[in-house]
């Protein structure tokens, strides 16, 4: 990952998260956006299609669709088709409950789509405790339908204290279904903030996961765990926060943010109903502040080159300080365990 070029500034994001709706048929307890009811004033079909044109013009390579549940939007396939007509790659994050054989047949003919189905445990009871009764079975059914096509499919798991011990079994499950495993970091935003204490993995679970990840090269994490990434996985992904540098987030109502985990007024970069995508990317002061963000409190750390201070969103949500350094990075997990051992010994 070449920070030099990233710091020179990109003409547009390489990829972005677009939460196309807040509507969701589930109420998962870790949901980053507190999804449920559709938001007032979500982008219309015409506005969404116009945004796709703007993303194409800007040169965005990939759109990661999330929500809410994207497939709830009746025009979602139209939005996808518009992306694909411009060669924009798409990745859809879905809860899997609305995946039907007909939908899979329609999507399967397309080579520009990838799908992540959320599943939060290798055991039915672990997953359904977070996502709701019956969701495990529905998600597995969706994965089976998708695995029979050429659509690149993964199971996406949010690491929590409840499922931390099941991650190797999830890896086996994914392999047995013929798909890959992607593990995402649990962050305290949306309902995830309300349920943070009951769901957050402990420092020792995070370290155990980091070790397991080092030995499991085929498991993907997106940018989620770079602050926990060991030397073995260097080169597999980013080693710095990409918010406003390489990525950004568009909300269901057309507001832009640095990333999906920073969707609040404090971090609003602009409104696509009053400014163009490119204008917001080029001129937003919020984006400028993220591009010049330096986590000085981390600069003395031996792992600084590997994580550059970690995830500012977690620092914001837990310490109300965007410059504060990631409270759950590998270094701080190790320190926290050592502190606890000292306290116990005293």
């Amino acid at each position: 990952m070449s920070n030099k070029y990233v710091e020179m500034g990109m003409r547009s994001p390489v990829n972005l998260t677009w939460e196309v709706t807040l509507a969701c048929n589930l109420r998962c307890s870790h949901c980053l956006s507190s999804s449920g009811e559709k938001a007032c004033n979500e982008l219309s079909t015409a506005e969404a299609l116009d945004l796709v044109e703007q993303l194409h013009t800007a040169g965005v390579f990939q759109v990661n669709f999330g929500g809410g549940e994207p497939f709830i939007r009746p025009d979602f396939e139209e939005i996808l088709a518009a992306c694909h007509s411009h060669g924009i790659m798409t990745c859809i994050s879905t809860n899997g409950t609305l995946i039907t054989p007909e939908l899979v047949a329609r999507l399967g003919s397309n080579r520009l789509v990838a799908i992540q189905v959320s599943l939060d445990g290798a055991k039915r009871e672990t997953c359904d405790a977070v996502r709701g009764d019956g969701v495990f079975d529905a998600a597995i059914q969706a994965v089976k339908l998708l695995a029979a096509t050429r659509i690149p499919t993964s199971i996406n798991t949010v690491l929590t204290t409840q499922n931390a011990d099941e991650i190797p079994a999830m890896h086996d499950l994914a392999k047995s279904l013929g798909v890959s495993l992607r593990v995402s970091r649990f962050r305290p935003s949306g309902r995830g903030a309300d349920n943070w204490e009951s769901l957050r993995p402990s420092p020792s679970q995070l370290i155990a996961f980091s070790d397991w990840l080092a030995a499991s090269g085929d498991v993907r994490t997106g940018d989620s765990f770079f602050s926990l990434t060991t030397q073995e996985r260097q080169g597999l992904g980013l080693n710095l926060c990409g918010a406003a540098k390489l990525t950004c987030c568009v909300s269901p109502t057309g507001h832009m943010y640095p990333c999906a985990f920073l969707q609040s007024d404090r971090f609003e970069a602009g409104d696509l109903r009053t400014s163009s995508f490119q204008e917001i990317w080029d001129t937003s002061e919020i984006y400028a502040s993220f591009r010049s963000l330096r986590i000085h409190s981390c600069e003395e750390c031996t792992r600084f080159d590997q994580c550059h201070g970690g995830c500012p969103a977690v620092a914001w949500h837990l310490k109300n300080d965007i410059n504060g350094g990631d409270p759950e990075c590998l270094e701080r997990c190790v320190t926290s365990i050592a502190d606890n051992q000292l306290k116990e010994a005293a």
Binding site: Y5, D50, H56, F61, Q62, G87, M89, G237, Q278
Partner: protein, 101 residues
């Protein structure tokens, strides 16, 4: 909603690829390239992975959207620039951004 003001996208799409009879190299269908201030930015959605190529304006972003011979470069590229570009092509092939056709 206001329209973007940029007129031309310089990203490449796999849809327009043409397969030619002669063996050569071409951008992998999972990859894209676009022009940035330093040169070309390559993106591989399989990672996702990025590759920053300080090629300046020597190569257009869509250059490998069509099949090219390994030693083929745009007109006007000097011999020393060709040598540097050859190394760069080898790197792109090794890392899977380009593939042999």
């Amino acid at each position: 909603m206001r329209k973007s003001r940029l007129k031309n996208s310089q990203s490449t799409a796999s849809a327009g690829f043409t397969k030619m009879a002669a063996a050569g190299i071409q951008l992998h269908p999972s990859c894209r390239a676009r022009q940035e201030g330093f040169g070309l930015l390559f993106y591989d959605c399989r990672g996702p992975r990025l590759l920053f190529a300080a090629t300046g304006t020597l190569l257009p972003a869509d250059y490998y959207g069509t099949v090219r011979a390994r030693d083929e470069f745009p007109a006007g590229v000097s011999d020393s620039q060709k040598q540097a570009l050859q190394k760069f092509v080898t790197q792109l092939l090794e890392k899977g951004f380009l593939r042999e056709q």
